[in-house]
């Protein structure tokens, strides 16, 4: 899928780690400006690696990446100016309070909007004077998100921030994210392996499996274009096990019933010879 003016872009991106494992294999991806894109895939699909190449944390083995047209390995400073980043686990300093983190962000990035971040946290009743180590996992994730939002960057990259959160904290996190993205007109890329949580929040969907892009579409189109068949179907994308133990087929086109987003993702992961099962992906 190509878009007119991508804000995040990869071309033939491949990444191999030292031990010889290919995390990404020839990724061509263009993320348009605006809205939230979900980057979905099982563990070890390459989601984090892909995000980290945009942040400039991973150097591509082959191919190229662009952030607002800038190669982060050639001009890291300019690329980072466009980015706000939330790491996989909330990477906060144990010895610092919430307010200290905002001061630190201001020190590191002079354009950091401390008041904006502070007001976001105040809305969530997160005490500014509380030490990071005394916050719950959900609160730590919110602090990390507030720091990313405080950068006022046009692009937000969120690397599985929901993974360790309970359902309520996940919902609250997504609410804050969608609210901020819609009010600021930013572009967010949210990686997750929890499909149901991103269904409501995200506009677009990228399914990544075994280091390849298996599906890239809007959430609405991905759901309307697919259906489920309980028997083998000539237009099937793939078959996979249903929760009741039966085998079902994801069909591009008309089948017996509409597919859920979860089933669309599972079908494409199965087509990518992923070992994902419904339980693992859910």
């Amino acid at each position: 899928m190509t878009v007119a003016d991508p804000i995040l872009e990869t071309r033939e991106l491949a990444k191999r780690y030292r031990r010889g494992v290919w995390a990404l294999q020839g990724i061509d991806l263009e993320i348009p400006s605006g809205g939230i894109t979900a980057l979905v895939g099982p563990n070890a699909a390459g989601k984090s690696t892909l995000i980290k190449t945009w942040v400039g944390f991973e150097r591509p083995t082959r191919g190229s990446v662009r952030v607002a047209g800038i190669d982060p390995w050639k001009d890291r400073s300019a690329a980072l100016a466009h980015l706000g980043y939330v790491p996989q686990s909330p990477a906060l300093y144990d010895g610092l309070s919430v307010e200290d983190h905002l001061d630190l962000a201001r020190q590191l990035r002079p354009s950091f909007d401390r008041d904006y971040a502070r007001s976001r946290l105040a809305q969530l009743d997160i005490p500014a004077d509380r030490g990071a180590r005394d916050l719950s996992g959900g609160q730590q994730a919110q602090v990390a998100l507030a720091i990313a939002l405080g950068t006022r960057a046009p692009i937000l990259l969120l690397d599985e921030p929901l993974a360790s959160l309970d359902p309520l904290a996940r919902r609250e996190f997504l609410h804050v994210l969608t609210d901020a993205v819609r009010s600021d007109g930013a572009t967010a890329l949210l990686s997750s392996h929890i499909v149901t949580d991103v269904e409501q929040a995200c506009d677009r969907l990228v399914v990544l499996g075994v280091g390849k892009v298996l599906l890239h579409d809007t959430v609405a189109d991905a759901m309307s274009a697919h259906s489920i068949s309980s028997s083998e179907h000539p237009g099937a994308v793939a078959s996979f096990g249903a929760p009741d133990g039966s085998r079902i087929w994801l069909v591009r086109g008309t089948g017996e019933r509409p597919a859920t987003l979860d089933e669309v993702v599972l079908g494409y992961l199965a087509s990518g010879r992923s070992t994902a099962t419904p339980a693992a992906a859910a």
Partner: protein, 343 residues
């Protein structure tokens, strides 16, 4: 200025426990040195007659020796002096300890704890981040080392009140500027090890090895360079008169001054097939009794001594090399931080 203070506050909070540990250690050590300095000075002033005729810092009596009534005093005095000497050994170790305790965890903890991901995604320049990250801790560490350096000078002056310490190699490296300069090298080497390894405990352990090896190598190399500053002194000033010991100088080596003016150690003499086993009362060295009888020496006993006047030069050289090692380590740290993954 406000920004610098904010950064100092944040830096302190990120490394509070190490800094407190180091500050307590430095305060304790310096207080100990000051106490010994004042106590030894007070003892000396209270009983000057007991130390008259004794070389400062040496218990060897001169011609007559101290009065018998001074025995208890001298036991106490030299006991305290021995303890004080141990404190200067701690002053010598302090810069290396700073490198391990303060330097190694600085970047390693950021990578180990994952906070480098936050910092490096916010900071436009990783080199800029590194310089700011290490600035407060390094400056504080060097300030503390400066306190130790001054304390150690005070203690040395108290023990050797009659000597000109600016031109004296007594306790070289255990007092004054070299302590601070070695701190620069050790802390920045620690930072480099931490940046490469990226885990706190392994970085601390490896930094002990790296800092130890680096400064041992540096010391051995400087010994060779400094040898050029040494002058040759015969062991005997005249027939049966031993040369007066140069307490301010640094004894580099002992050996034989050949008749052609060249110096060789006894080991080198044996390696060259010479047999310097016979000496006369003038310190002349012979290969055989026959040579001894015929007065045909191969040379005379001599030592290589760097005179005390060279002390400022060697301090400068030692300090410059330590700082250069530190700056090289900093440059390498920057290269590592720019290229490495944050976690």
């Amino acid at each position: 200025m406000t920004g610098a203070l904010t950064w100092a506050r944040l830096s302190y909070r990120q490394q509070k426990w190490e800094l407190l540990l180091v500050v307590i250690g430095v305060v304790g050590l310096t207080a100990g040195m000051v106490w010994f300095a004042t106590t030894l000075t007070a003892l000396r002033e209270a009983s000057p007659e007991c130390l008259a005729g004794l070389s400062p810092g040496f218990a060897s009596p001169a011609e007559e020796g101290p009065p018998a009534a001074c025995q208890a005093f001298l036991t106490e005095y030299y006991g305290l002096e021995n303890w004080a000497s141990n404190l200067t050994t701690l002053a010598w170790v302090a810069p290396f300890g700073m490198g391990v305790v303060l330097g190694a965890p600085l970047v390693a903890r950021e990578i180990d704890g994952g906070t480098a991901q936050l910092a490096w995604s916010l900071s436009r320049s990783r080199v800029g981040w590194l310089l700011r990250r290490i600035a407060f801790v390094t400056l504080l560490g060097l300030g503390l080392l400066a306190i130790i350096a001054v304390g150690s000078e005070l203690l040395t002056a108290a023990i050797f009140p009659d000597r000109t310490l600016g031109e004296d190699f007594v306790w070289f490296g255990r007092r004054g500027v070299p302590i601070v300069a070695r701190g620069v090298g050790a802390i920045l080497l620690g930072v480099l090890v931490g940046a490469v390894i990226g885990r706190v405990l392994p970085a601390v352990l490896v930094s002990i090895l790296v800092i130890g090896l680096a400064f041992t190598g540096m010391s051995l190399a400087l010994d060779q360079v400094n040898r050029a500053e040494a002058t040759l002194r015969p062991m005997y000033a005249g027939p049966g008169v031993p040369q007066q010991f140069d307490v301010a100088g640094m004894q580099v080596d002992f050996g034989i001054e050949r008749t052609d003016g060249q110096f060789m150690t006894y080991t080198e003499a044996f390696e060259r097939g010479l047999n310097p086993n016979f000496t006369d009362e003038n310190g002349q060295v012979f290969e055989s009794e026959e040579d001894l009888r015929s007065g045909d020496p191969i040379g005379r006993d001599a030592m290589l001594v760097i005179p005390g006047e060279k002390y400022p030069l060697l301090v400068l050289r030692d300090s410059a090399v330590a700082v250069a090692v530190g700056l090289l380590a900093l440059a390498l740290s920057a290269a590592v931080v720019v290229r490495r993954r944050p976690a």
